[in-house]
Symmetry: C2
DNA sequence: CGGCAATATAACTCCGTGGTAATTTAGATG
DNA sequence: CATCTAAATTACCACGGAGTTATATTGCCG
């Protein structure tokens, strides 16, 4: 079925790794809520330093998680595709279910 | 809509981070193909060292990505839930689509 | 109970990467 | 062209975590 050669596997891992950082997830989350934001706005919303945020944005953009649009001095970032959000949703659902099970000793 | 407090965000990030490692993804992939495997079998299939693999398995199990079942000397591991596989599938689909786009200059 | 095999843990090294401060680049405006 | 702001890049430090080796645990069998 799935050959999943080492190279593809490494690429998948890299994508997961990119989302596996609180700072970057905060960026993704902010973009999800506001649709499109400039770097300056993202600095305010995420509380990250400008240089730090810029680095994270480069990483997210290189992996096509976010899109970039220049407008004069400003650069607007947005989430690139639906799957990015879907991934977060699935992971959240997993966590919530797990958390729920922790409080359910046994179904009678 | 989603409050997504810092703690939950950190947990989501942690989950993504766990999948964002080639070694652990190899484990997940092997388990996906074989349904259930012992540590020894996983050592062979993944090529990881025993101690190293054991650590990865503890991490994956702590996050409920894999289930554990003791049988005599052996411990059988398996993928814990459907979502784990779904996450990998979605990420793969994303990558394949991206890869496809790279070779499609412009649709006429 | 002694020894063996499977797995887990401990101790350690080393490299990757996140954060920050300083500098550079890009674009607008007078 | 000088200058101002937004964003990106560079250089650096510090820490976490992956890998390895050695040791400890767990359970079986004679």
């Amino acid at each position: 079925m799935s050959a999943l050669p080492d190279e593809l596997l490494a690429q998948v891992a890299e994508c997961f790794r990119l989302l596996g950082e609180p700072a970057r997830l905060r960026v993704v989350n902010a973009l999800r809520e506001h649709r499109e934001l400039t770097v300056t706005q993202l600095v305010e919303l995420t509380g990250l330093g400008q240089a730090n945020l810029s680095k994270h944005l480069q990483l997210l953009h290189a992996a096509a998680f976010v899109s970039r649009r220049r407008e004069g001095l400003y650069v607007w970032y947005a989430i690139a595709d639906r799957e990015t959000i879907e991934l977060c949703d699935v992971m959240c659902a997993r966590l919530e279910r797990e958390a729920g099970l922790k409080h359910q000793p046994s179904p009678a």
